[in-house]
Symmetry: C2
Subunit: 607 residues, 2 copies
């Protein structure tokens, strides 16, 4: 087995003092949201880069369950940080540009007040007398730290997993104190399955005979077995089944001879035993209980209505990212959040479901950095009104595999300009199948303020976000249920209709969300196309949109202008305007028998 398999996949490292951490103690009683109190709170944190004179470039990083303040190395000689790939000079979260702050969370065991800290009232470690804390309490302490550092408004708050919970709590509690929120591989509340795994892990710790009611700090034997069991369960849930197979299937009966008392019959067993044994060297069982319980209690809404209520205030921009193979914090969890954020109708929201084999750990690994790194970088730049053109993004973009069937091309652009001319510049516009944001760019140029896109291609979403356009990664055919009735003045479906699987469903949704809709499509009854069937007896083909063969065309809907008009008539869809064009002849308007003489039609419709 390769050595790297035994490197922790969550950025953990050998225990030791966090050399670069500073700390600040806030004297005075802190009331906790669960009803308890702490007589004082100390926060350990590390910073990177410089705070700008206007104190407007601060990015707060929230760590996950087993993380700490050491998010990145402070120089070549420093110990590695848990997110070195994301944070540093020239990295996606560029410390030449941003002032990065990463505090250890409340309840942790790396310098911030937690169960292992000395209770000033007793002179003993809190142990199990440490009160129940919540994610909101962690955020409250982070807010105190921001005050201390003189930061009134954070540029960004960024975190994955439990760090993402903190991002959500910031958005819910202090929306006015942050401009952009980046929630990665997280959820509005844990799935019952994820919560169940936490319960089993805690049961293993609580029933470890060395746990001794939590007051084990002065004992030689600590609840290491229970904590290691909890960590092993965690490790399985952080990886996808595919990733585990890739690592261990080839050699499952060849364990590595690691120093552990746990079962070592199988290679994956020696890995888990090693991870469990290593974890207890640097983590405290009471902290594990405190933090995992905080995650389990976290619940900013189990329904869309509750979530809308939670995030109603504020106009913060959001970037939400999930990973396709993450089963601990599934893409559906992120979608529930995204759906509610969109439905608050007052904030720009972008979402990407990153294709990945790496499971929940994906956001800590290099594999998908070209996507999630570029998205984060572009999003942060957009918060400052800039378009990201730095190497971290441009260098990696080509690595994102394309899934869109359309690439920007000349005819598309002309179509867009004609459609744009039908809009008032104060119209809010949703572009369905927005591609790389070409039409959104035209709209921005015309002064439109509220614009957004929906797109199925991951690569195109990255390009949109890097240009500062809110864009939602989704399949049109699965509906627009995120969006409110009449949320946009205009919804546009440009040259996409002929590739839609569920035409009726898409129309129902489009007409619900847009007060008006603009649809353009190629007319298959165009005389040249008709003649191919009539004279040649062959399926129609042409340049541009119809450049495919019958067996590989994405244009699976063959329709004419008359077909479309009949479709509208049957459904009581009102046609406000019809523009029929001959794109081969300078995009001239066709007056004479458009069903035969126009190759492209644009309709303005509404319910």
């Amino acid at each position: 087995m390769a050595e790297d398999v035994f490197n922790s996949s969550d950025g953990s490292r050998t225990a030791g003092p966090l050399r670069h951490a500073r700390s600040v103690t806030f004297p005075g009683v802190v009331k906790l949201s669960g009803g308890g109190t702490l007589p004082e709170v100390t926060v350990a944190y590390e910073t990177y880069g410089k705070l700008s004179d206007g104190a407007d470039n601060a990015v707060l990083i929230c760590h996950a369950l087993s993380g700490d303040s050491h998010v990145a190395a402070h120089g070549p000689d420093d110990a590695p940080g848990w997110w070195d790939i994301m944070i540093g000079p020239g990295k996606p979260i560029d410390t030449d540009r941003y002032f990065v702050i990463c505090p250890n969370v409340l309840g942790g065991c790396r310098g911030t007040t937690g169960p292992g800290s000395i209770n000033p009232a007793t002179g003993e470690p809190y142990g199990r007398t440490f009160p129940t804390i919540t994610i909101e309490d962690m955020v409250e302490v982070q807010r105190m730290l921001a005050d201390h550092l003189g930061i009134d408004k954070l540029l960004g708050v960024v975190g994955g997993s439990m760090g993402g919970h903190q991002v959500l709590a910031w958005g819910a509690r202090y929306p006015e104190r942050v401009r952009g929120l980046v929630a990665i591989a997280t959820s509005p509340r844990l799935s019952t399955q994820a919560l169940a795994f936490d319960v089993v892990g805690r049961n293993a710790i609580l029933h470890d005979p060395n746990f001794g009611g939590g007051q084990y700090y002065d004992r030689a034997n600590k609840p290491d077995v229970g904590l290691a069991i909890a960590r092993m369960i965690g490790h399985i849930t952080y990886l996808s089944s595919q990733a585990m197979s890739q690592k261990f299937d080839g050699n499952r009966m060849a364990p590595r001879d690691v120093a552990t008392t746990f079962e070592k019959r199988f290679s994956v067993g020696s890995y888990l035993g090693y991870q469990g044994a290593k974890f207890v060297e640097r983590f405290d069982a009471n902290s594990y209980i405190a933090l995992s319980t905080a995650m389990d209690l976290f619940d900013v809404g189990g329904t869309k209505e509750e979530l809308i209520e939670t995030f109603r205030d504020g106009d913060n921009a959001w970037l939400v990212m999930s990973f396709t193979s993450d089963w601990l914090f599934s893409p559906q969890d992120s979608r529930a959040l995204v759906d509610a954020l969109i439905a608050t109708n007052n904030k720009p929201v972008s979402y990407c479901n990153v294709t990945s084999d790496c499971g929940h750990d994906a956001f800590l690994l290099e594999d998908d950095l070209p996507v999630y790194g570029a998205l984060t970088c572009g999003f942060l730049a957009g918060l400052q009104g800039e378009i990201c053109e730095r190497p971290c993004c441009t260098a990696t973009e080509a690595e994102v595999s394309p899934t869109s069937i359309f690439h920007p091309e000349h005819p598309h652009r002309l179509d867009y300009r004609r459609i744009a001319s039908l809009l008032r510049t104060d119209d809010s516009v949703l572009d369905l199948g927005c591609g790389s944001g070409e039409f959104l760019n035209i709209l921005r140029g015309r002064g439109h303020q509220e614009i957004a896109g929906v797109e199925i291609s991951e690569r195109a979403i990255v390009t949109c976000v890097r240009q500062g356009f809110p864009a939602i990664h989704t399949d049109l055919n699965k509906g627009l249920k995120s969006f409110l009735d009449g949320q946009f003045d205009v919804v546009v479906l440009s040259q996409t209709l002929q590739a839609v699987r569920d035409v009726e469903g898409v129309f129902d949704e489009m007409l619900r969300v847009g007060r008006k809709c603009i649809v353009s499509f190629p007319n298959f009854a165009y005389h040249k196309l008709r003649r191919m069937m009539t004279d040649e007896g062959r399926a129609p083909r042409a340049a541009g949109l119809l450049r495919y063969e019958w067996y590989n065309t994405p244009n699976i809907r063959v329709l004419s202008i008359l077909d479309f008009e009949a479709f509208c008539a049957e459904r009581g869809i009102r046609i406000h305007r019809r523009i029929t064009l001959d794109t081969e002849n300078d995009w001239q308007d066709v007056e004479d028998d458009p069903n035969a003489n126009a190759d492209l039609a644009i309709f303005v419709i509404s319910r």
Copy 2:
């Protein structure tokens, strides 16, 4: 929370003597495949129904990890069995018809020799001196039981999960002693993820201070915490995330006050605590270790080549079933098995991936019984050369939701007869998109022996299997990689081409698998269809296959006879024969300008 949530979902029940179990002891040393030996073996088993005079109606049921010999109640007053829904008079495995045998497995703790049994050499329980056993050893003991009962050839061996492992071991080791094998929710070897969960469970038991090296039988305190932790992990993996959400999301903070020392903060926690506490009353920790290790060691092949080698011998019929939401034994695991079985090229194989929300437990629950019960029932009947028309199937079939776009209709049948007339009766034939087996039925009527179907509709697969046709549940567009090069004399694609997404991929595969292929499709250049576009400027529509509108038609490929011929020419596909028909006029052959005058074409092609 409803009471039923707390009923065990794997058919377990309060401990107690298995009243109806008989047992037989085989004296003499039994050699185990791991190298160990047992001085003697006792098998506890229950039987249902009567063995026929020819001893040809015996069905062996193999239980899962926590099951036992009490597969079904022996009467209305008897304790429930773990598979009462499947086994009994008039049930899918009909005890009026079959002689059902269910033994407790070797290594278990319900009467068959296991770690808790007395070692005759020492007079003490084996404990941890019980040798390592394998799934193959369990099957060896079952084979001894079959001998004892005078059964030379079992009609069927049926099992799910670890029971499915035993089914596979029967197929590998004793193919000549069983006619049909039913492998449910199982795998050729565990995924690394599933194995990892087992490792953690065993670690919890082995490190329980009450485990005491496994010699705890005479002690008051047994390793109940460790066993309960293992059971809790198991329970999570047996359910799908959806199923857990449905059970607990509505009320996650309202635990039931169950008698357990485990954490009860969350409803799912009280459930797991209850299940863990209940399990230790009826199960032995050493058995848990022995059986889960046997599952982890089970490996009949990690590659297709290894699996083909394993199952090369024998002409047993196979029915393999997986469940879409089963992530412990995923559908991919079953597909790996099915692919190899098909590639042995000497046995009839059926496969269904049952759509289910119930996770791994689905095969024990009533929800999907209409599918897996009907399949099992039909398969067993087919082994006796009969077609299942009993109430258990016909009554439930309507509940299976249809996913096929085609239903049997008149034109289809004529098409089939014409295609059949092109075949020699000794041709082996694979029907792609076989629907409910209409064409296979025609072939059987003509005397064809080797026939099989591929179909995407679950309901259609059930209908095929009930008629005794081997049928594989899969999406054509995902390829025919299960099948060997030239495995069939003829592969048929009848009136399906126009609905295929990946036309080129399907043709490549079809021409690889079939020495010849027969393709039929509607000709969209048929004069009537052309005229609709030319004269009316509307997308073509007609009765029958073209009865859809442009926006909802499954016919997404518009092609003519000329288009198809050009396609073949470009790819070097040889056309052996072309039949062009006018289906509106008595299916007459069209000689004159078929591209205009034929509405259906049949091509015989090969690479």
